[in-house]
């Protein structure tokens, strides 16, 4: 049975290779080939899953060793897979949502002339993501980790002729690279500490290791998770990543890739369990991000960016739960799965709305769409109810458990984290109700007004090849084709029932327990109290939003807003900070270094050579422009020599 594991990765990888290297001949069938291979991977996953269910909980873990990858003295890196309950959960989520989104894209990208390449990239993403969750060591995980980063880069920048898309793609890759530094350093630390970076030996030996080392490893892993999962302070790329086609936002930037950070932390549970300081840092990052994302989500008028803020915030919940240790691991993953369903569904719904609205993204130019897009309305509505935690739906079960777990952490810490989680739930209810009301209810604000044309930045440029003359005219909202609505319906089913299904008899807890272990903690509040509080804050959030956006007409042009609103529209000024400090500062640094290299370093070395070797005549002829700086150069040369000698002495 373990021989099948490699097939999971191989099927989409083959698809990527064929679609990207194959010529135009494949243009007509490429998208179906890609979808088929994604479905094949899902089928293999189902087979492996049924097989796994037939075994005892304790020996469900499968291993497959393919080959020795980097054989160097003392350094062993293998291409080997490990499929346990945690990986299996991810594999099912990735392949099922992935296949649905492939199907959706067949319709969504129908008129794009580069559709074959799009499916090639999607397949590449699936292969890398599966590699990430199936690897049995951190270095191979790193390959998948950067592989999904590459796929994300290619897909965010899919419409490369749009400068904003190209910039967003580059930004995503760069910010992620900062996180990757963390993962690199963590692996190096593991190597020097344990002599290996395979999961089994490292996690097995974690308890016997000094806490300092483990804290360092844990913090580096957290840095990596912040990059990939868009957590503060490395969250700035996710909003811009919405430049990519909407199916990409659904699959990569909502359901799967951005949750890789949660996987990394839960997978490394033994390290974090023995490093309380690192755990504390994880919970702080999660708590800060869940508020940060929620606040940003309240202020955005772009439907995708509002959802991106929400994604950030929901992943904040997962990271928070993962930071709680064995109390929270299971619930982090459970929320991850339910979130995968409802957030993918919400994004696909947003894409369907844009599809029917000439690719307009500004919610202030929507309104009253429920009549025109009934299927989209219902599926989006169910996703909405799920994410705000409406009792009985998926999000209710998973989020409620996280809030309970946060209180169960105990002490002042527990109270603070629990309150933040509750506050976040209220804001979630508020901003999602806002999205819902702006889009599907109220006046039809798109009447008698041309939407963004493809020439204007801001429109998703699929319109360029799709809309034709319609791009400038008043939109005619209409329901999307079946290839798009079917995935939405299926995801809505998941959004409604998954949470309840997982909670019957705590089956999700029992399923993951052998891998992540589970601890009930010691909550100062009863479960019923927490649930009650969750429902109360939900009602408060919804009511507030209704007073603001449901009762009153919505202005088409956004009002100036309070200081907080304006800051939140600009991602709480974090981008401005980055721009001033990193971009501008970096530009000045590189420019001055170019100058220094050209004049000083060159001059000093030439000057030294001239003074030592008597080559001055030749050199002066070459660069008479710098002849006067020779005195300076020689002085500098002497200084460097002295410094070098001192350095040698010192060491």
């Amino acid at each position: 049975m373990e021989k099948l594991i490699a097939l999971l990765v191989a099927a989409p990888l083959l698809g990527a290779a064929v679609l990207l290297c194959g010529g135009r001949l494949l243009d007509r069938v490429g998208h179906w080939l890609g979808t088929l291979l994604a479905a094949a991977s899902f089928a293999v996953a189902v087979v492996l899953f049924t097989d796994m269910l037939g075994k005892d909980a304790e020996d469900r873990s499968l291993h497959q060793h393919l080959f020795r990858w980097i054989p160097v003295e003392g350094f062993q890196a293998d291409v080997a897979f490990q499929l346990d309950q945690l990986s299996m959960t991810f594999v099912l989520l990735i392949t099922s949502v992935g296949t649905l989104i492939h199907l959706y894209s067949v319709g969504y990208m129908e008129h794009d002339e580069r559709r074959r390449r799009f499916f090639g990239y999607l397949n590449l993403f699936l292969a890398a993501m599966l590699l990430l969750v199936l690897a049995d060591n951190y270095l191979l995980l790193y390959v998948g980790w950067e592989g999904v980063g590459l796929a994300s880069y290619l897909l965010i920048g899919f419409w490369q002729h749009k400068p904003s898309a190209a910039t967003a793609a580059k930004k995503a890759f760069l910010v992620n690279r900062v996180g990757d530094m963390g993962l690199s350093i963590a692996i190096m630390l593991m190597f020097t500490t344990f002599g290996t970076f395979a999961f089994g030996p490292v996690l097995g030996a974690a308890e016997e290791t000094g806490e300092g080392k483990l804290t360092a490893i844990g913090l580096m892993l957290l840095l990596a998770a912040c990059g990939k999962s868009a957590q503060v302070p490395l969250q700035s790329w996710l909003g811009d990543a919405m430049e990519g086609p909407t199916p990409v936002s659904a699959l990569i930037h909502a359901a799967t890739m951005v949750t890789a950070g949660v996987y990394l932390i839960v997978r490394s549970g033994e390290i974090f369990n023995a490093a309380p300081d690192a755990q504390l840092a994880v919970t702080v990052v999660g708590a800060v991000t869940l508020l940060f994302g929620a606040i940003v989500g309240c202020a955005k008028d772009d439907i995708k960016k509002a959802l991106a803020g929400s994604t950030m915030s929901q992943i904040g919940y997962m990271i928070l739960a993962a930071g709680l240790g064995p109390i929270g691991y299971v619930f982090a993953i459970m929320h991850l799965v339910t979130h995968g369903f409802f957030k993918a569904g919400l994004f696909l719904g947003a894409g369907s709305v844009m599809h029917g609205m000439n690719d307009e993204v500004d919610m202030r130019k929507y309104g009253g769409l429920r009549k025109y897009m009934p299927v989209t309305f219902v599926t989006f509505g169910l996703g909405y109810l799920a994410i705000i935690g409406f009792p009985g739906l998926s999000g209710f079960f998973s989020k409620d458990k996280i809030i309970e777990a946060a209180f169960a952490k105990g002490g002042a810490e527990g109270w603070i984290l629990g309150s933040v989680a509750l506050l976040g739930a209220a804001i979630t209810a508020y901003y999602m109700t806002r999205v819902m009301l702006l889009t599907f209810f109220g006046e039809e604000r798109w009447r008698h007004r041309a939407t963004a044309s493809p020439e204007e930045p801001g429109a998703e440029p699929a319109a360029e090849t799709r809309g034709g003359p319609g791009g400038h005219a008043e939109p005619h909202p209409h329901e999307s084709p079946a290839s798009m609505t079917i995935p939405m319906v299926l995801l809505a089913v998941g959004s409604v029932f998954a949470g309840g299904f997982f909670s019957i008899g705590d089956r999700f807890v029992h399923w993951l327990e052998p891998v992540t272990h589970h601890d009930h903690g010691d909550s100062p509040l009863s479960a019923a109290t927490v649930t009650g509080a969750t429902v109360v804050v939900l009602v408060v959030g919804v009511t507030l939003a209704w007073f603001q956006y449901g009762r009153r007409p919505v202005p088409v042009v956004a009002p100036r807003g309070s200081l907080l609103t304006r800051a939140a529209r600009r991602d709480l000024l974090q981008d401005d900070f980055n721009h001033v400090v990193l971009v501008r500062g970096g530009e000045h640094l590189t420019r001055s270094l170019v100058y220094v290299d050209h004049t000083l370093v060159d001059g000093v070395v030439n000057g030294t050579a001239a003074s030592v070797g008597g080559l001055s005549g030749r050199l002066r002829k070459l660069q008479n422009g710098y002849a006067r700086s020779y005195a300076v150069s020689m002085f500098g040369g002497v200084a460097v020599l002295i410094a070098a000698t001192l350095l040698m002495r010192a060491v």
Partner: protein, 523 residues
């Protein structure tokens, strides 16, 4: 006596150089094919070396030894270890691609006959460089090595100065002036390094009484040749200086951007992917073996210089406006990694450094040659003159991106393996150095992706609207390189197996052991 395979591997390109130069002026195409044929024959011989070499056998194999200048104990001594074999294979592999990529670089300009450039000479010089590079990888006599190490400057000088890029932003005369400046600068820097090395070579003879690498290393190892601490250090510095110029290491690097900027793209590849490798190779072979104590003494300073190279080269690459100069500064950053790996003195670091030499050759060749194809279409090296290329030439853009991703060491491509080994190896010995070097991976992403964004994405520049995509000849150059980058990224074992035993020898030369992990992990 068995067939002198190593000599043959160097003689074939040398003969090829002479034969190509002798082709009559009018038959340029014949000269090109002849050069290509000889480079392929050399490749075949290099493959034979690869096959005959037994990684787990003696340290030096396929040895040849003849008396040459008996009075001074200079011998014609050749021999290869796993490191040399892999670099010879790299050289022989890249040469046909360099020739093929430069197929039209030395064609006469149609306009004036006075600007006619001798095609034959161009290809003959390339083959001459190949012969000398291969011999410097093979020589185990210090003096013999020195001769070829220096002699290759001459053909390189003419290749840089005589066959510059046609595509240049400035006027023609200005271009010629800049080109000869670059060529002279290249020559002076390397000559200066060579002169200092010559002094050290003579000094070594005075101390040791002969030039044989194996004999001296043996005598040093068993204690029969004792050097005073200061003597050893001085000799080490003399050798190292020459290699650091060639490698090039900060602050001796400034000749490289000029040379790579002015030379045509294939010659730029020849410089950075092939010729410069002799510098880092020689650090491993000569500095560590002949002067183990001095090497350890100088290590902290060299590690600092390597780190400066990594960060400084990458930052300068970010600030470049010229595509080829950008790649040159990226190479400086990469050479910093190689030197860091060598002087980390760990198995992972040195194996990584050797793999890095091979992989950097492949990745830079891929990136630079595609850049050359791009430049030849537009006639400009300036990044600002491009934009939106992926829309008109998607294959060119795609291969350029793969080359760039290899340059930023994306996992799955060959350079990742070597870069990570270097980082781990450095980290194990000097954690701070490992962390600082890791910053380089962020900067590498920055300069590569900025370059890609500015040239390939965005709206199509009107001048580029009719740009043709890659031609068959160009694709034949790029596709195998990309296949190798992927192949060695997924399965680097063959090269690693070749290199590992040689690295173990070097490690025992300097009497260094790898740091032990702190916790014995439960297996």
């Amino acid at each position: 006596m068995s067939f002198p395979l190593l000599t043959a591997t160097a003689v074939v390109p040398a003969v090829g150089a002479i034969a190509t130069a002798a082709v009559p002026a009018a038959r340029r195409t014949a000269a090109k094919w002849l050069a290509l044929l000889f480079s392929l024959a050399t490749l075949a011989l290099a493959v034979a070396v690869l096959v005959r070499f037994d990684p787990d056998g003696d340290r030096y194999q396929l040895t040849e030894s003849h008396s040459w200048i008996a009075d001074f104990g200079v011998r014609y001594e050749l021999g290869v270890d796993g490191i040399a074999v892999s670099l010879i294979a790299l050289t022989a592999l890249l040469l046909p691609f360099i020739i093929l990529a430069g197929w039209h670089d030395a064609d006469p300009l149609e306009t004036t006959s006075s600007r006619w450039r001798p095609t034959q000479g161009f290809f003959a010089l390339i083959l001459a460089v190949e012969a000398m590079v291969i011999l410097s990888f093979e020589a185990t006599d210090v003096f013999l090595f020195y001769i070829f190490f220096e002699a290759m400057l001459i053909p390189m000088y003419f290749l840089i100065g005589g066959f510059g890029d046609r595509a240049h932003a400035g006027s023609d005369e200005n271009a010629t002036a800049q080109r000869s400046y670059a060529a002279v600068k290249f020559l002076l820097y390397n000559l200066a390094g060579g002169l200092i090395m010559l002094a050290a070579v003579i000094g070594l003879y005075v101390v040791a009484g002969n030039f044989s690498l194996q004999e001296i290393a043996q005598a040093r190892a068993d204690g029969s040749l004792d050097m005073a601490t200061n003597t050893e250090r001085l000799l080490f510095l003399g050798f190292f200086f020459a290699f650091a110029v060639k490698a090039p290491l900060w602050p001796l690097h400034t000749w490289l951007p000029n040379a790579m900027g002015e030379a045509t793209a294939p010659i730029a590849v020849l410089i950075t992917a092939v010729v410069d490798k002799v510098g880092t190779f020689a650090m491993l072979r000569f500095c560590l073996q002949l002067f183990p104590e001095a090497s350890k003494w100088a290590t902290p300073a060299i590690v600092v210089l390597a780190l400066i190279s990594i960060i400084y080269g990458a930052l300068l690459a970010v600030g470049q406006r010229d595509i080829k100069r950008l790649v040159a500064y990226a190479s400086i950053s990469h050479f910093g990694f190689i030197v860091l790996g060598i002087f980390a003195m760990t198995s992972q670091g040195q194996s990584g450094a050797t793999l890095y030499m091979v992989n950097h050759g492949l990745s830079t060749a891929a990136l630079m040659l595609v850049a050359g194809f791009l430049i030849s279409r537009r006639g400009s090296r300036l990044i600002a003159d491009y934009g939106g290329v992926q829309k008109v030439a998607p294959v060119l853009a795609g291969t350029f991106l793969v080359g760039g991703l290899a340059t930023l060491s994306l996992p799955g491509l060959a350079p990742f393996v070597s870069e990570f080994l270097v980082l781990v190896g450095a980290f194990a010995r000097y954690p701070v150095a490992g962390v600082v070097a890791t910053l380089g991976i962020v900067l590498a992403a920055l300069y590569t992706l900025v370059l890609y964004q500015r040239t390939m994405t965005g709206p199509v520049k009107p001048e580029l609207a009719k740009m043709p995509d890659l031609r068959v000849r160009e694709l034949a150059v790029v596709a195998p390189l990309i296949a190798l980058l992927i192949g060695l990224g997924v399965y680097p074992k063959p090269v690693a197996d070749l290199v590992n035993p040689a690295v173990e020898h070097t490690m025992s030369d300097v009497q260094k052991k790898d740091p032990e992990p702190e916790v014995e992990a439960a297996k």
